[in-house]
Symmetry: C2
Subunit: 302 residues, 2 copies
Amino acid sequence: MTSFAILGTGAIGGYYGARLFQAGFPVHFLCHRDYEVVRTQGLRLDSQGQSFFLPVSAYANAQAMPPCDVVIVALKTTQNHLLAQLLPPLLHPETTVLVFQNGLDVEATAAQLVGAERVVGGLCFICSNKVGPGHIQHLDQGGLTLGHYHTSGLTPHLEWLAQHFTAAQIPVTLAADLTTARWRKLLWNIPFNGLSVVLNCTTDQLLACQATAQLCKQLMLEVLELATATGHPLDPDSIAYLLRLTHQMPPYHTSMKLDYDRGQPPELEAIYATPLRIGNQYGHPAPRIRMLYQQLQFLTKP
Amino acid sequence: MTSFAILGTGAIGGYYGARLFQAGFPVHFLCHRDYEVVRTQGLRLDSQGQSFFLPVSAYANAQAMPPCDVVIVALKTTQNHLLAQLLPPLLHPETTVLVFQNGLDVEATAAQLVGAERVVGGLCFICSNKVGPGHIQHLDQGGLTLGHYHTSGLTPHLEWLAQHFTAAQIPVTLAADLTTARWRKLLWNIPFNGLSVVLNCTTDQLLACQATAQLCKQLMLEVLELATATGHPLDPDSIAYLLRLTHQMPPYHTSMKLDYDRGQPPELEAIYATPLRIGNQYGHPAPRIRMLYQQLQFLTKP
């Protein structure tokens, strides 16, 4: 039976790890501050009106964990420098590293450590938060998109990976081009993460005000232009689709807003700096995205 | 001797009125909430290490004030609709209305009421705040720029007006083209007023962070482009000049930030909406100014 390691038992790693555990897979959770709580009380998942208390295997450090078939990297991208210590104990010759992070080229660190051909990128379309130690609250959605980092196209290996999540009741989409899928995710993350921090608000408030609803759309158009210019065209209809989806979501504190409120470093490099750098190489200045990034740098400077 | 009426005894009206009073001119101050304090304790001006307590003529309503030779409109532009009631009692056939406000075309309301040929626009280059009832704190600078609203060019009437301020130790510049002067003022107001509200900070903090210092400059460039496109070219060197000046200023809470913190409506129409509307007519979208305006609309919506 395929074994999983979860690096980072937060809103993302906690949720998907819990679902895999519920589906019967052996799942090993690396915890940080929450280790004692998870070890003694289990991992708690609230979802759709139910609370699950899951007696999972928790670890305080990666050295104590066994090699696994699939390692899910669910750290913040700002912690990717830790992978050089965290990954090696978890690897056997066939281990797949699955990077569940937002932003562009976030797989680069893992690829350097294990080889690009063993890295798969994952995008999580989910509203979930860690609301307390070892306590994950799942609010809405939960689908995954998976794609190879080193190559384009769909493979039996991707399908094999997908089967595990499908078995765990998680809808999976396979992406022939991971970078296009990552740009599509940025279509949402770039406007809503940044503006929710700068304007101190939830996603529904941004859309309830005509001026910021228009700004969200304009920022999304800039993302679409960047993606298209850099060889990863997105369907222009995705903007209207994502706006409709966001309208239907409950009032949502974005992950960047939660990080900011907790005083944690936001993922500016992966979500803003890298896309802007790539766009700039293609002669696209993206003034609104740049301005949002400048404002976020101001607000989060050490 | 030329008589003055001051409509709005705040940071601007209070300062210039106080200076004219100190120079010996008859000055009549319209007060609102501060009427009792000014009537009983006088107007207080702190400037350059000195505190002046000035026994000025204070009025609680315009009907009680005499007609004056010069009416200085120093209300917020958001209160210009009050001019229809406030101005008539202060007018004689030769009264000049001097509009000391920021933004584009802020003279329009006064011009409709008294005729454009009797309206002069004034720009105040000053750091001053109202820090308490009837208490004006002058921090830095204080120069005025004056220009005709209905016509371009310098006239003996403008020179005559200027002499009074010169007599009151206030440096005056006469502008042959008022609109160009107003655009030049917006070069500062558009970035610093808006960003200080959105990012909750002072001007020195904006310049101390590399990202926002660059953003200020980019916003200034957009203002310069709008002004130039609409027939009011500005010297590109003014950007570097204003940035140097701002570096030399003490940490400064902009007037828009102070209004925002007090829950007062900010002057978005005069400082953002009108310039953007005019720029749009000339095919200039000014994305960064528009984005700042959108953010300010979100933060200040009723």
